[in-house]
Symmetry: C2
């Protein structure tokens, strides 16, 4: 895809939310046999899904989880506790069903797809893995732009394609996951650029750096910000210069979900970074995003505040792969079931609140 063709779809309008379905869902919640507001976030989620789906009976049975995997040149600066070989090794682990997200997808009866965008050690052809190679990882953002224009275009497009596949299979909810050693450094750099924060405000231990490692990571990100900051004049240019293939693919996926009207359940720090880029590119994207969990990565709080997001879970998770969103999926399903199946005061013959 050329850059100009890319811009055509990236700038297409976002699907409208159904205001009437929203009002109807709110009214129904007030009639169900519980004190008003007693199910709080479970009520909110059901009402949001009803409005997104334009339905009286929202449902998220058919769920598509897509994990985008890629390596990061910035890892050469020593910003991760794990070696880069792990990215490709984990792609195999996803395919053979041993990774956390594989186990969760199986138990949640969700469709799991892995999109390999380019690892240092290419795992080759694997069942359930879509190969969309953009290079053996990104360039090192501490020295040069992480992605070329063509790589950015192709990565965004890989996200759009994954959403199209989910849509053609009648997906009712999209979860985007990530795998990429070094990607908390890339995400932190993009977030810093967009929120105009220094590295120390957003940088954390990722997969398990010690204090010295975090200090080094802060210096590397500050170097990258000094190099690219003056040229990162749009969200997509910040993404290109500082981000990663999988962060770009998630950004393209979230934008396209909003365009086709497919609700997104956003995972943690990496997916949250993509949600920020997507929402800064087009603020109308935000209304299609639900938030699954609050990551243990310390920079996630600033990111959630910038997105005005209140995630469902806060379990100290910091794994990625879409696992925090997957953990929250049963709450969306329960919220729908409660909305659709609870009796009203009139149906059950239950007395209402005293005046």
């Amino acid at each position: 895809m050329t850059v100009s063709a890319l811009l055509d779809w990236l700038n297409a309008a976002v699907h409208p939310i159904d205001a009437q379905a929203h009002r109807d869902a709110l009214a129904r919640q007030s009639r169900l046999t519980k004190p008003p507001g007693a199910l709080d976030q479970l009520e909110t989620i059901a009402v949001q899904l009803a409005a997104m789906q334009g339905a009286a009976d929202p449902a998220v049975n058919n769920v598509h989880i897509v994990v985008f995997a890629a390596d990061h040149g910035i890892a050469a600066e020593g910003t991760s506790a794990f070696p880069q070989a792990v990215t490709g090794e984990m792609v195999k682990n996803f395919a053979t069903g041993g990774a956390a997200i594989s186990v969760m997808a199986r138990h949640l009866n969700a469709h799991l797809e892995v999109v390999n965008l380019g690892c240092i050690n290419d795992p080759g052809e694997l069942p359930g893995v879509v190969n969309r190679p953009l290079g053996a990882g990104t360039a090192n953002a501490a020295r040069e732009p992480a992605l070329t224009q063509q790589q950015l275009t192709d990565a965004l497009d890989a996200g759009r394609e994954a959403v199209s596949r989910a849509q053609h299979q009648h997906g009712e909810l999209f979860i985007g996951g990530d795998m990429g050693i070094g990607n908390t450094a890339s995400a932190a750099a993009v977030i810093c650029a967009l929120l105009e924060q220094p590295a120390r405000a957003v940088t954390g231990p990722g997969t398990g750096l010690d204090d010295e490692g975090v200090a080094r990571k802060v210096r590397v990100i500050d170097t990258a910000l000094a190099l690219h900051g003056p040229f990162a004049d749009t969200p997509l240019e910040a993404l290109r210069r500082l981000g990663g293939f999988e962060i770009a693919a998630l950004t393209g996926a979230f934008i396209h979900c909003a365009q086709v009207g497919l609700p997104v359940l956003v995972d943690g720090f990496i997916a949250g970074c993509a949600a920020l880029v997507a929402s800064r590119h087009n603020p109308a994207v935000r209304q299609w995003l639900l938030f699954g969990h609050h990551s243990a990565e310390p920079g996630h709080r600033l990111l959630l505040e910038a997105l005005d997001a209140r995630p469902l879970l806060n379990l100290g998770l910091r794994l990625g792969e879409g696992s925090g969103a997957a953990a929250a999926l049963p709450l969306l399903r329960l919220a729908c079931a409660l909305h659709n199946e609870m009796a009203t005061f009139a149906e059950a013959g239950v007395s209402e609140k005293s005046d």
Copy 2:
């Protein structure tokens, strides 16, 4: 059951936790393909369940939810936003499947039982409802002890019986729920007595009192505390003088769960009050308790601190019925699946953390 026979079972020893299974589960978590600790509370829960069940592969497939329903004499003082008729009406709603916990139990494939301990408007015989009448609600604790000695004995025993039924059906997890208009006032009074707090520190809006209603509720609870405090010299005596039938039944249930080695997932404010009484009666009960959610009822924070509990969810729920614990159940199941089914680094050929 006589009071002395009651004391025989109430003071029986608690089932021991399996220390070897605990060590083995911790060791297994460290070998799974994720950064150490990256699943945080999901790891902790799996390890706790493995230790409780003495199993390498913990499971909570067979889950028993028991909702104890009863009315409260203290409601005559105007401490609730809903009329007392609702308790019996909701028992019918549980039986016909329209209540929140009915919908949740169905979707979670959990066994739901309702134990009616005595409502103002008796709903009569209903499918799925065990009738164990102790009176048409408790006495008004603002004027006299809420329960007689015999009612306390019988209520605790009703809890024990429910656990025996769950155990005979090979239950792997017990969730105790509550239904009783006025029961946040009773629970707050018991909590105040045990934690030596004034009513204002623990009293909240319950099902939806306004500020004036909360102020009245505080005065009523302070009156009850002044009347009974000097005589509430044991946790069970505080429970008898200030509590309710369902709070006592939950207390008996939690104590018996610990005795037979059945893990408990504690719901919100009311079940939490029973967990406090049970743990004060015998501190060894505490190790059999997992905590599902942090209620919106403001006094719950003090209660959780006293129990040193870190619930899984904080969704603003304030419904009771066991709904907050039920909402957390999928997280326990995912935690078990991850523990049992994830690949180890060696199995998957994934590189470990760099030194």
